[in-house]
Amino acid sequence: MNTDERESPRGAGPRRGGFDPIAMEVFSNRLMSITEDMNNTLVRSSFSTNIKERRDCSVALFDRRGRLVAQGTQIPLHLGSLDGGMQALIARIPVEAIAEGDAFICNDPYLANGTHLPDITVITPVFCNGRVEFFAANIGHHADVGGAVPGSIAGGARSIFEEGIRLPLTRICKAGRLDTELLELIGVNTRDPEERKLDLRVQIATNACGVKETHELIRQMGIDAVHAAVEDVIEYTRRRMRNRIARLQPGEYAFTEYLDDDGMGGEPVPIHARVRIENDQLEIDFTGSGAQARGAMNVPLNAVRACVYYSIKALLDPELWPNAGLFEAVRIHAPLGTIVNPKPPAAVGARSITCQKVCGAIFGAFRELLPPQQVMASGNDVVPAIVFSGELARRQGDYVYLETLGGGSGARYDADGMDAVHVHVTNTSNLPVEALENEYPLRVDEYALVEDSGGAGRHRGGLGIARQIRALVPNTIFSVRSDSHTVGVATGVFGGRDGRRARLIQNYGTAQAKTLFSKVARVELAPGDSMRIETPGGAGFGPPAERGLEAIARDLRDGRISREAAEADYGSERVSAALAS
């Protein structure tokens, strides 16, 4: 028997006004299966820790016009970043010039809308009856793409030329044949050519898997039905997005967050976001943000877009599907020559902390737009990266240990902020203390929540993290890229207090204790020397006077707040009452 009609997501399904909710739901599951299959292939087969274990990669399917149809991502910073490479392809390559079996590669922020050089995109056309119908694409964060320092991210890089190999949109496969010479060229420009080449081959194979699955879907449904279902999926997302925008208060709202400096010890840098709601259109304007940084803390426009899409999804509708329907309702303006849209050849490698501030500014601007139930006070809004390097103790060779740390998240209408989490565009795991001590000649003295770091309020901000690490052998080198040590801060909302800033202390608790700035490079540690970083806490929500006595008492019993801080924030009378209750 032939059950095709029943199995087909469209087939005999009912339709109403052109939109078929049942077929769309069935189809969207098939689409997600394609991206999940691609993602599984990429993660399973790659070698590098970045892609395989931290899952710093994403996959997507675009239609022939370059509209995003579906995306699978673990990293919010990738939302829409594949879109950049896709738009570069649409702009540069006439569709007739694309052959079946071609595959394109790119990473450059200025030539191919990349977000920084380590993120390499591969795009492969999907042909049906001799015509391009879709594109399969994926992006992976490569551990090293050459440049001045291992890892290719140097806060002090002066131009993109110091950050590694630049790839404009280039064919890496021509009519089914891999260009091994190009692959070799890319490989030799990086510090671990074998790993690069392996992962790039896996990226190409991942798209091949997407092409195969898409062909299978077209075979089952027929190309017309697939196109109709794609329209339904995008149209549904657009409608859902417009519904969310329609509930917002029309008008203009702005918010500013600050970076301590531009990464090179200069003046504080404002990140200014103005949100405008007009009809059912949303516009975000970054005019008023600081000039482009001298170092690598600049955010290319396409990474700004990712921050915007992430923020909107998180603020308005976490379950919203990432596709062109989400993008179309949002206009973004970032003036050229600013830290949020640098001119070439500005360096952009260390963009992630600035991205956190961009999200923080957008979240801030939305405070006045959203009902209080949906507002969140500012979180730690940074992503401090600490790096220890030196010689391995138990075998030949050098090590580089990099860790990005979380902090407190902002308090909400009905809940304290989360303690010790990554916020916004990142969400990467820590390295367990026992794994660290097995691997490197380092010892962890403490890994703890930072008392009193959460901003007071009816609901308290989440607590930051303290991590103190001691060098055990000579010639241990330490660097850090952090922020919100001196100027930037998590700001409270509706009367909630600010979170505590971060700090970095060498040899904490000794006579030689020394507080360092948020960005330091290449501090040499002697055996026994320690570095302690305390990351920022989140801010509070609502007046501290409204915090329940039970919550104050619990925080005091738990040591999340000290008696002194509690009395300063909540008043000694209420603290006494809390302790007596």
Binding site: N2, P14, Q74, Y236, G410, R412, E434
Partner: protein
């Protein structure tokens, strides 16, 4: 003599009774008693004994699966617990891996800590990564810490020190101090519960063990009392997450190992049945009231994993790799504000349940859709014990789905089921591609009350060529209890590059675990001829942070080169490549001790009965828009003989489940009573 398998679920407690003599199996079901789950166990056993006129002394074996530990965690009803840990690290329990649970939804927070910060006591002590004591534990400080917890009134204490997997000395001293100063406390020690490196997962597992320990003791006491009161002398066993049986004594010490108790039994049972009928590779598909469990069985054995979460708390013990999808019979169908029809993950569960059960449920569920289309019996289920109100199902579906979308009732019901099938199909594809398997080599093994109703369409959608429906699929987990062995898992971390020197150390760890395993087998009174041991090594290429599991022929006498070659093969299988010459790191050494238990033989069904004799009336069933309503004969499954072929349209009913066969489909009853449906691959 007889053997009883029991699976305690949220709604029902299921029983399988096996006659050891002739292999005949009977199935039974009673309503669960959540306040004291042992009550339903006792009443069910009593009913079984009465119905089949058995004496308690004829019961030789009881195996049971329980969700008590899991429910204590989910409902946050565990014991008041304290922690002793290394100075500077009490917050590891809360920091965890420093990730937020949901990328976009900040309303989805971290779960509250299992142990409050004020009851996490740090003591001065430190052991390094090589297991050397850097800072000795002082008796006085230890005693003060124990007394502090005692005064706080905790019932249970977890102990977890850094690097205790390497050197358990300080943890052992802490245990001794608690036993001396605070003998009433339940004690859970990380180097006993999970002697593996990575402090957060070890701590979380140890804390969970402490939190569920005291209430689990109470439950086991009651359970034992009730079984004894019935006059049954047999020692009851509990199935653990790895699919093996554990004695009551072992469960008391390691209750956290029962967190997947029932579901694991179903998978192990499915694997046993699959092996018996030449379907060694299965996708198990267990559709219940609120969720669907999916797992893979490859070459006759379930795939295992060692990490999952219960209510967002990580637990790391060896367990069957089961993936849970938020789709089950009670999943609610609803239209969102942008006009999409969503099915699940919200569920009406067992309470209030589907609208048709008339227990207060008013929202349209998948079960209601099945009833509206008459794929489920629109009058009564469970051999008539559960009345069905078709009108309520029709009303809910009409008001909430059909009318707002402008669809006929049938189109709406069909749509709800298609969406549910699409959700399930996507999950099955994800589970297979994540591990790199091609579904065309698998059969879909459907159970749980609702599994068989979805299985044929889901298999067609996923290009799985065959569907297997075991007898009484609604009690499959209880049956699985009778198809498995006694087992216990031991683990030790090594963390060393695989080379001759470290290979000697690995052999020493295996020898030590083997001695432990022998002692355990003695205590469990397993005869020497029934004993077996399985050896595995978790290994990775140097520089990786995740391991693959490599089986060894014999841990004590294994050959390093053979291990390295096997590692490459396993790595290739799991990840698609192997790297020549790259150093391999041994992370954990594992030993599983097994004690063979006489199994329920899978009895041949008698053959030759006529199809007509199994016929039990007919009803009209809606088989999709093209075929519409079709007069469909109803067959009673217990009357179907081996070798019977049934052509659709047909519906096959039994106490706990239903199979609806569309026109053109065919089903065969195999020699041990499974229903086999071939789903031609051309349909995809």
């Amino acid at each position: 003599m007889y053997r009883i398998g029991i699976d305690v679920g949220g709604t029902f407690t299921d029983f399988t009774l096996l006659d050891e003599h002739d292999g005949q199996v009977v199935f039974h079901k009673v309503a669960s008693t959540p306040a004291d789950p042992s009550e339903a166990i006792a009443s069910g056993i009593a009913e079984l004994l009465r119905l089949h006129q058995l004496a308690p002394a004829q019961i030789a074996h009881i195996g049971h699966g329980t969700t008590v530990a899991t429910n204590l965690v989910i409902e946050r009803k565990g014991a008041f617990t304290g922690l002793l840990t290394t100075r500077g690290f009490r917050d590891v329990l809360e920091i965890g891996r420093q990730v937020r649970p949901h990328l976009y939804d900040y309303g989805h927070g971290k779960p509250p800590p299992l142990i409050a910060r004020e009851h996490r006591i740090e003591v001065d002590e430190r052991i390094d990564a090589r297991g050397e004591v850097l800072h000795p534990l002082q008796d006085g400080a230890l005693a003060r810490a124990v007394l502090e917890l005692k005064e706080a009134g905790v019932e249970s204490v977890a102990i977890c020190f850094l690097h205790a997997y390497r050197n358990p000395l300080h943890e052992q001293r802490a245990r001794a101090a608690i036993e001396r100063l605070f003998p009433q406390a339940y004690i859970s020690v990380s180097s006993e519960v999970l002697p593996e490196f990575r402090e957060f997962e070890r701590l979380s597992t140890t804390a969970l063990n402490a939190v569920v320990g005291p209430r689990m003791q109470t439950y086991l006491d009651r359970f034992l009392d009730r079984v004894r009161a019935l006059g049954i002398a047999a020692e009851p066993f509990t199935i653990h997450s790895n699919g093996g049986l554990m004695s009551v004594r072992a469960v008391r010490a390691f209750p956290v190992r029962t967190c997947l108790s029932g579901p694991a039994a179903g998978v192990v049972g499915a694997a046993a049945i699959g092996r018996a009928v030449d379907f060694p590779s299965l996708v198990t598909f267990d559709v219940g009231g609120t969720s669907t469990d999916v797992s893979l069985v490859v070459a006759g054995a379930p795939l295992f994993s060692s990490l999952r979460s219960i209510a967002d708390y990580p637990v790391k013990t060896p367990m069957v790799d089961i993936h849970v999808i938020g789709a089950g019979g009670g999943s609610i169908a609803a239209i969102d504000d942008a006009g999409a029809l969503k099915v699940g993950p919200r569920s009406a569960g067992a309470d209030p349940g589907p609208a048709a059960y008339a227990r207060g449920g008013t929202q349209a569920t998948i079960t209601d859709a099945q009833i509206v289309l008459h794929r489920l019996n629109p009058v009564a289920l469970l051999d008539g014990r559960l009345a069905v109100d078709e009108e309520r199902a029709r009303r809910a579906l009409h008001d909430q789905v059909a009318a707002p979308l402008g669809l006929s009732l049938e189109e709406a019901a069909e749509g709800v089921i298609r969406i549910a099938n699409a959700n399930m199909g996507r999950a099955i594809r994800a589970v297979s591609t994540e591990r790199g398997y091609d579904l065309s080599a698998f059969a879909l093994f459907a159970y749980g009350g609702a599994g068989p109703l979805h299985a044929i369409d889901v298999a067609a959608e996923c290009a799985i060529p065959a569907v297997i429906v075991p007898q009484e699929p609604g009690t499959m987990c209880a049956r699985g209890m009778l198809l498995t062995d006694v087992s216990f898992d031991f683990v030790r971390s090594l963390i060393a590059i695989a080379e001759p020197a470290s290979w000697v150390l690995a052999a020493e760890l295996f020898a030590a675990m083997h001695a432990q395993a022998l002692a355990w087998l003695e205590r469990e009174r397993v005869r020497e001829s029934d004993r077996a041991f399985k050896y595995h090594i978790d290994a990775r290429y140097e520089g990786q942070n995740f391991e693959v599991i490599v089986p060894l022929a014999d841990g004590r006498a294994a050959d390093l080169d053979r291990f390295l070659a096997d590692f490459a093969l396993v790595h290739e299988r799991e990840y698609g490549y192997a790297l020549q010459g790259k150093p391999v790191e041994i992370v954990n050494c594992r030993l599983q001790a097994l004690g063979a238990v006489p199994k329920a033989p899978l009895t041949e069904l008698s053959s030759g009965g006529s199809l007509a004799s199994a016929r039990h009336g007919q009803r009209r069933i809606y088989f999709g828009q093209r075929m519409g309503w079709v007069d469909t004969p109803v067959y009673l499954r217990p009357r179907l003989a081996a070798g019977t072929r049934i052509a659709g349209p047909a519906v096959i009913e039994e106490m706990s489940s239903t199979v609806a066969l569309a026109p053109g489909r065919r089903a065969d009853i195999d020699r041990i009573g499974n229903i086999i449906v071939q789903v031609a691959s051309a349909e995809r």
